[in-house]
Symmetry: D2
Subunit: 303 residues, 4 copies
């Protein structure tokens, strides 16, 4: 593999997986959403990440979504496929299928639930890296998985052949700061939570950020946050940062992510669909509040 | 179901799942370990909990282990089978199989990875409770799963037909204190981390505790901690508490639980076996330190 | 000094400092409150601790209160005088005055605001210990002072000549557990927050606990919590633990400690008086709620 | 007072208070350090803040330092005088003296040690504001004082007549983010920890930052961090941010702040002097490590 060909940057979207009410995947809505993201100008697409409710999908379903995304995107931007699992052999097996299906990269988090040590996590990624030799985005999200990749560990992971990028979604500011400082000479650094950190992390030298709630509700402005910064227009970037933050805050106040994001998408006429259990759609007073919060941002809302 | 027939209390063991080096279940070692626990006098056995590396097992394997445990235990003590999954329908399907296999109760944690709200967790348990109508132990372990059952939620769960007991492994002391105060009129309260909380939580009115590292390394003394308290012998209880703590501390300093527990069991001649990836057996200097720590507790150790 | 003559144990009260509305010390109310504590059967009295609003008192006032307490108590129980300051020379100067005034011990916390290292804290206590050679209670309350005495440091402090006891008010359960385990062979261990930890910490081997809200509102039952445990009557101890907890919870829900304690004392006809600024007395709806919470505990309340 | 005349921004230094070995203030070294800061181009000077070991100074000493600073600075940049105390009347008394001495503003933190409620803090600042009617910088530093000014409270404080600026040194990123968003329309927002947050917070719209370790060790580059950003030179700003971070990290690894800052200043030939007890100068292996860390940054170091 050629590390230098990997050019992941900018506003990268992790897309939702719209389900029908009965829990089946609504592949048409999925396709439509991917197309809307491309129209907004995103610089990359992540399939079956947390935003895609990866925890509720079988491997067969993850592969199906990867395939469809590759078909829709047609190489216009990189497609990165989430293949996280607790067992490294499960990660490898699914990743190989996704690679065959034509994705540009795979995204892998630390194994969850088992609270592995930093060394065990390293061995996990090393096994996967050695087996795949394919561009990999390592994804750190300790608030969800209960396990953190330390900056020291990232520094070691940066030496693995397949590891070309890191998505840092730690909520600890110093971890984010140190990640950018420590590995951005060797890895693409994409930060999570664009709606509150997009601009400051670009200032610190990140390559991009993942846009989820803001992008899939607002469309273009979430991408423009990146472009405004890249063009040196800090005043406009701050205005867009504020808009993205208000949007994401409205979504997150309404319920559990990404169920609340799906409800918000539905409210503004985008194809969010239903979540799978145990998550539940936003309803009642919370839905009304969400609708009025979005309307206050000049979005066209229909309940 | 008859809630009053449920008599879960005392020193309850969550058993390990010994694997061969290649990752296959070593069912003979498993059987032998269950028998050793019974000989030690445990008051109940939990199958395929965290200690059993539930995250690394398929549903088929979990059922196999439940069946074997039922056969070995022959109703001498309650057998409680872990059937946690993110999707409530998966929990229900596996639980039904385990119930058919003859277990006395099922143990279910909050759905992980998806960070559900307290209401979504309630609906998750309600769906399962309504469907099963079978004694259920609700298991709270926020440090591992990243999701906490608040005491207010436990109070609501206590009203569900199938919920007869709670296993509280929160590391927040006030949560443990308030759980005992709030639901012990309706639920059996079993606390986690016997090695540091066994005695004080019994003093506060808990019904029992789960013994893991201490019991499966020490055997009888971990059960005697309960018995000493029950007999009002606080001086002896304190000595045993100290022994259990030193044992569990040695295990936990050596590596990731329960891989380190398995290594400790092997050192003292008990059937621990290997962990599954991503966990790794304790090795090298850490194994030597573990051996000397255990030897310092007058355990017969062979490296 | 003779370490063996120090016999600090049981239910020890940290007394409030009643002020008039204009901020002056109300020495008659103070005296009356000390007498009420003695009538309740307390095993010791702490003057000018946090409960006494030490932060709002001048050294002259602290000495005045120490003197009065010595006069009132007349050696019936030990009187321990809080002399904490940031500068060790200030601690030494005030302590010498209090010793001259006849107190039985002094209580000193880590220096606050300056975030000292563990070594700097050790040197602070060593300087004081060497200079005074008088029984000292080291007081750890990290949630208030922002600095924690680690258990390793306590182990070192236990070797200092003057250090005879530790008051552990860390909210971290494992710190409390390890403190009792580690230093109770050499030091008297008194735990804070009797209302939620009194009973379990006695079970673990503590020598006593500080009773503040519970004792100065309830009187005798807060002392009986200790006595019931000491007599082996766990059922009665649990009932008293519950009563103490409900009392302290009502007080702490009403406002900032100890202003809320003073308001509660006033409500039940005890001499609480006013707090000094920046603390404010409980008022309005919160005072009504406090009154009804206390009435619900069968206390005679007059608004 | 005229709020509009207040123009606090840029790189503002909180200066150390050099002491002789015996603890007396070394006023010549103090003067020399203030002059060095002015030469470096700082946009403002804070006297008797945390960096100045305010906790170890009497009111008389604080006033002396304020007076000297006013004399040295001669209106070239604003001089802001720290007058924090637990009692609002103490704050008012000292502030009035400092105002008479000619300072341009006063800096006041929340009252410490007494864990006041948000309402009590508001009343504290209101009393001071009403009494002084003089430009006030409200200083939030929860990691040191154990009390946090919530963003909601800052929003209320922004309405007080004397409150013209906030210094936000919370370590919680979202608090910093929300502070800038919420009050920068009415208050000057100065962020703490320039060495890791200077650049990103400027990007978010802060007015400036306090430079402590970096400025008083490096001199000019810590001010240039601000200037580079202001001129839109992000590449140079990032290089300077990195230099400031490495400097501050070396200082903070060596010991307790600001004792370690003073030792670092002494190493590079600046007038740091000694700290007061309980803080101790850096010594031994830690001093050697500090020297080599600073030398690695191309600073001329003599042990």
């Amino acid at each position: 593999m050629d590390r230098n060909s990997v050019n992941w940057y900018g506003s990268i979207t992790a897309v939702v997986t719209p389900f029908y009410k009965d829990g089946e995947i609504d592949i048409n809505s999925y396709t439509q959403n991917v197309e809307l993201c491309l129209e907004a100008g995103v610089h990359g697409i992540v399939v079956t990440g947390c935003t895609g409710e990866a925890w509720a999908l079988t491997d067969r379903e993850k592969l199906l979504l990867a395939k469809r995304t590759v078909e829709v995107v047609r190489k216009r931007v990189p497609v990165i496929s989430g293949t996280t699992s607790i067992s490294p052999s499960d990660v490898i097996a699914l990743s190989k299928e996704c690679i065959k299906a034509g994705v540009d990269g795979i995204m892998v988090s630390a194994p969850y639930d088992c609270l592995p040590s930093q060394d065990e996590i390293y061995e996990h990624f090393k096994l996967i890296s050695d087996e795949l030799k394919f561009p990999m985005l390592v994804y750190n999200i300790p608030s969800r998985l209960g396990v953190n990749l330390s900056v020291q560990l990232m520094d070691r992971l940066a030496e693995l052949e397949s590891v070309v990028a890191i998505k840092q979604s730690s909520k600890d500011y110093m971890d984010v700061f140190n990640t950018i400082k420590t590995v951005s000479d060797r890895l693409r650094v994409i930060v999570g939570y664009s709606s509150n950190r997009g601009l400051p992390c670009m200032a610190l030298g990140a390559d991009g950020f993942t846009s989820t709630s803001d992008l899939q509700v607002l469309g273009k402005p979430a991408v423009e946050l990146y472009n405004a910064y890249a063009e040196g227009d800090m005043v406009r970037a701050r205005v867009l940062q504020e808009l993205c933050f208000k949007t994401a805050s409205a979504v997150s106040a309404a319920g559990t992510f990404p169920a609340s994001l799906k409800s918000a998408m539905n409210l503004v006429g985008r194809p969010g669909g239903y979540p799978r259990r145990p998550l539940l759609p936003v309803a009642g007073a919370k839905l009304e509040k969400l609708a009025s919060d979005l309307a206050a941002l000049n979005l066209k809302v229909s309940l």
